[in-house]
Subunit: 334 residues, 2 copies
């Protein structure tokens, strides 16, 4: 927690400085930590684990249930639905391009994809497994996983650490390149419409890029207060402050309503919006953001231009092969 706190303080300073951001394209590969280099074998194993509902107590919820790789990487719901129909208070962030987040979860409590992957599996309202020991026991009883872990890590390799490493390695491959924006920035001036270019300039002019810049539009700071400006109308309508964000983890008053700055990549296909998923349309999300973060009232035309630009941030979702999940011949967990 101490580390997060220091980070937040440092970055709150950075992110309060308005930066004249250069427009950057999305890298085609994501950096991996030194102790978890990306390999084809790990990615293949990670894809299996990511899509395997047997990592949940009921056998019905996989990582992909809420972070759907066939959709925009989320579930298009205000809150996700875990085992036995349970729901929490936050929406599922998209898994696409999550490799470019410096921290994970809405409250940024996980410093890596590896750390994030460990969380939902044993969360009682998400995947509901009692413990990672139980998860490892399950995996160890599936012959095909012995083979896949051995290929990825060598030796007797079914552990929590390796399972989360494999999932993270797979997630690092979930990148959506070649959005109209990327093509435009790379020199194809026909890739964005005039309206989209107006929106792009407006985004910079208003100061949205103070927090949403860089290749994934989620930096330079990792955390930001939301909402910054009190607004009685939106407070009553959307009760954004009910969830204290990072402070729910650190129990530190200074962290109240501090949130990870989410990527704007594919924002058009990941409705509904905000940590509590309470805003259903991108138009309203843009209007709200301008008001509560920048204290600005946008015209209908400005909102339309910005939304048009944000639509230009939808990338190409690479074709993937479905994993074949290894069976448990003659028996079942559930």
């Amino acid at each position: 927690m101490f580390k997060i706190r220091t980070l937040v303080t440092a970055l709150a300073l950075v992110s309060s400085i308005s930066v004249a951001s250069a427009w950057e394209t999305l890298p085609s590969t994501a950096p991996a930590p030194a102790d978890n280099p990306t390999t084809a074998e790990k990615v293949e194993l990670g894809k299996m684990l990511y899509h395997d509902p047997r990592l949940s107590s009921t056998g019905t919820v996989s990582c992909a249930s809420c972070h759907n790789t066939m959709l925009g990487g989320d579930d298009n719901r205000p809150n996700s639905m875990g085992v036995n129909g349970q729901t929490g208070g936050r929406g599922a962030p998209t898994v696409w391009n999550s490799a470019f987040n410096a921290v994970q979860f809405w409250d940024g409590r996980a410093p890596s994809l590896e750390a994030q992957a460990a969380g939902p599996v044993t969360n009682p309202i998400e995947m509901g497994m009692k413990s990672w020991d139980d998860v490892v026991d399950r995996l160890k009883s599936i012959h095909g996983y012995h083979v896949a872990f051995e290929k990825a890590f060598g030796g007797d390799a079914i552990t929590k650490d390796n399972a989360t490493k494999a999932i993270a390695a797979y997630e690092r491959t979930l990148i959506t390149p070649n959005s109209p924006y990327d093509k435009y920035v790379s020199g194809d001036k026909s890739a964005l419409t005039d309206q989209q270019v107006r929106g792009m300039n407006k985004v910079a002019e208003l100061g949205c890029t103070g927090c949403h810049s860089g290749p994934a539009f989620n930096g330079p700071g990792m955390f930001q207060k939301f909402p910054i400006h009190s607004n009685a109308f939106y407070a009553a309508k959307y009760h954004f402050k009910n969830d204290k964000g990072l402070a729910e983890v650190t129990k530190n008053a200074d962290d109240e309503n501090m949130w990870k700055v989410p990527t704007l990549r594919n924002i058009a296909v990941t409705a509904p919006y905000f940590h509590n998923g309470i805003v259903k349309t991108l138009e309203e999300a843009v209007t709200v953001m301008a008001k509560v973060q920048l204290d600005k009232d946008l015209s209908k035309e400005e909102v339309a231009d910005i939304v048009a630009f944000l639509n230009g941030l939808t990338g190409e979702f690479p074709k993937q092969a479905m994993p074949t999940l290894p069976p448990t011949p003659g028996t079942t967990f559930n």
Copy 2:
């Protein structure tokens, strides 16, 4: 209903005749009805619809949630879990090779894959949509589905009829060839072990093939009474008769405990067993079947031999590409 009744009567007669069955291999393609010939465009659309959780009220349950194409075509649960964590009283039959079932659902109430596909979507404890009109409205609001339906059917084509036709066309491609059994029957005598061959002969000798023969081991009759022989021990333990099967549909006493004869293809990877999914292991399922259907007590060795043979019915699950589901830019249903 009248049609089903006539069919049942006719087939109950047929299936009571012990047939000296020839061992047949699985066809590589499934027959399609005259009004729904299989085309690549329909299969592609059907695959999208089959995997789209937005066909459920909560946006969390797709056909694939319970009939998982990454697993053995089911969910390995005694009963499936629909929207909001609801469960019913029956297990999900496998979708793999379902094209070779003459009738669909455990109680055989649907005469085709097309008819089956229409059911779960509006079942309140499964996918929970209020009506197919609502489903069609949803699909019509997704641009990508207009494109895909037009490719598959031409013109203004988003209808319930076409949606279920596309899903059925996709399901007809879900065939698992080249099981050890198929290789053996095709001449590769090394494809089954000696134990598996003993089990195969035992299956014929006991009379299992009276109901479970043909390429999918689910004919010649479509329906069979289960259990046939009363057994106080199993009645108390597994209460198979609580669910009246076809009689729940026809309300006809003669149909009580009549069930579609399920395929034995991939039976080893589709635990748990029976309509109520109450038997967790294949060993126990074989023991129970011999007793309540054939009134025979099998030795431990006989059960092991038959289970070994049934493991030889696990086919090759063809690699599939994941569909990319068309987005709803800037908004969401849920």
